[in-house]
């Protein structure tokens, strides 16, 4: 079970959190202008890397805040925690989304 450092509440048990999947997937501003494949890419396609992965978590049973976590999917090591809207702190660590 992971120990996740909430940016507000500090380190807490994973059972207080909920994972919201891959981070930095921005909702298109004008969905109606997108082709079906473009919309499907936003909707369904995720990078699923082996290694560093940036994902969204919410401190559901705590302060209720969403934030981003950079986690190694092999070792579960958490290398960064940063607030929503903030830039990823280790720009080189995680692979970009393959589009």
């Amino acid at each position: 079970m992971l120990l996740i450092e909430c940016p507000w509440c500090g380190p807490r048990e994973e059972s207080e959190f909920h994972c919201g999947g891959e981070a930095h997937i921005v909702r298109p501003l004008h969905p109606e202008q997108l082709s079906d494949p473009e919309w499907a890419d936003y909707l369904f396609m995720r990078s699923n890397p082996k290694g560093p992965h940036r994902e969204r978590w919410v401190h559901e049973a705590g302060c209720g805040r969403w934030f981003n976590v950079e986690r190694d999917t092999v070792t579960h090591e958490i290398t960064a925690v940063y607030r929503m809207g903030g830039p990823p702190p280790n720009p080189s660590a995680a692979p970009g989304r393959k589009r």
Partner: protein, 204 residues
């Protein structure tokens, strides 16, 4: 307001007033229900000077910015719940007036106010083994170094969500749960405290 006398707490059906008189030798834990409190959820932007001053004008308290802390002025306690969220604990009879005044003061601010007095049950837990009982179901680190008196945190108690307020070093805790979970939380605490001996606190 006459209807106040018709109000029933979440655990009213348990007859705790009667059970409170029962002598329990060597009780390591004291459990009770705190019945007459007004509760207001306050939301707002702590970075906004207008919001801060509007709140402090009414309550004499500036919204606390430090996570997991509380502040108290006269009979109102403010608990940090999140970076834009606080719980105001007031005497029951003053909650309506405080809500009205605060709502007026907050007009035009980025803020929201919601009364939840009836939606919660507040259980009190104290006694020498209070921490040990709580630790059975709450993943928080309750050591005084980490969770000093005056701190509060939302977390879990067994299988329900709870707001834990460390009210005094005695140690004494107030545990807020959603009203519908009150019976479960009470039963769980009674069960978890059994090995230490549980006494029921007199009603406030």
């Amino acid at each position: 307001m006459a209807e106040r006398y018709r109000r029933r707490s979440a655990l009213a059906h348990l007859g705790l007033e009667v059970r409170a008189s029962a002598a329990v030798p060597h009780a390591g834990v004291v459990l009770g229900e705190c019945r007459m409190r007004g509760l207001l959820l306050l939301r707002g932007d702590v970075a906004s000077a207008g919001f801060r001053s509007a709140v402090s004008e009414v309550l004499g308290l500036v919204p606390v910015a430090e996570p997991l802390t509380t502040a108290r002025k006269r009979d109102v306690t403010m608990l940090w719940l999140g970076p834009d969220e606080w719980l105001l604990v007031t005497p029951d009879r003053r909650v309506d007036r405080i809500e009205r005044t605060l709502r007026d003061a907050l007009a035009g601010q980025r803020a929201a106010l919601t009364e939840v007095s009836h939606g919660r049950a507040i259980l009190t837990l104290s006694g020498p083994h209070a921490r040990a009982v709580l630790a059975k179901g709450c993943p928080l680190d309750l050591h005084p170094r980490e969770f000093a008196p005056g701190r509060c945190a939302r977390s879990r108690l067994a299988r329900c969500q709870a707001l834990i307020h460390h009210v005094s070093a005695a140690p004494a805790f107030e545990i807020h749960v959603h009203r519908s979970f009150a019976q479960y939380a009470w039963t769980w605490l009674m069960d978890a405290g059994q090995e230490f001996g549980v006494r029921i606190a007199p009603m406030e």
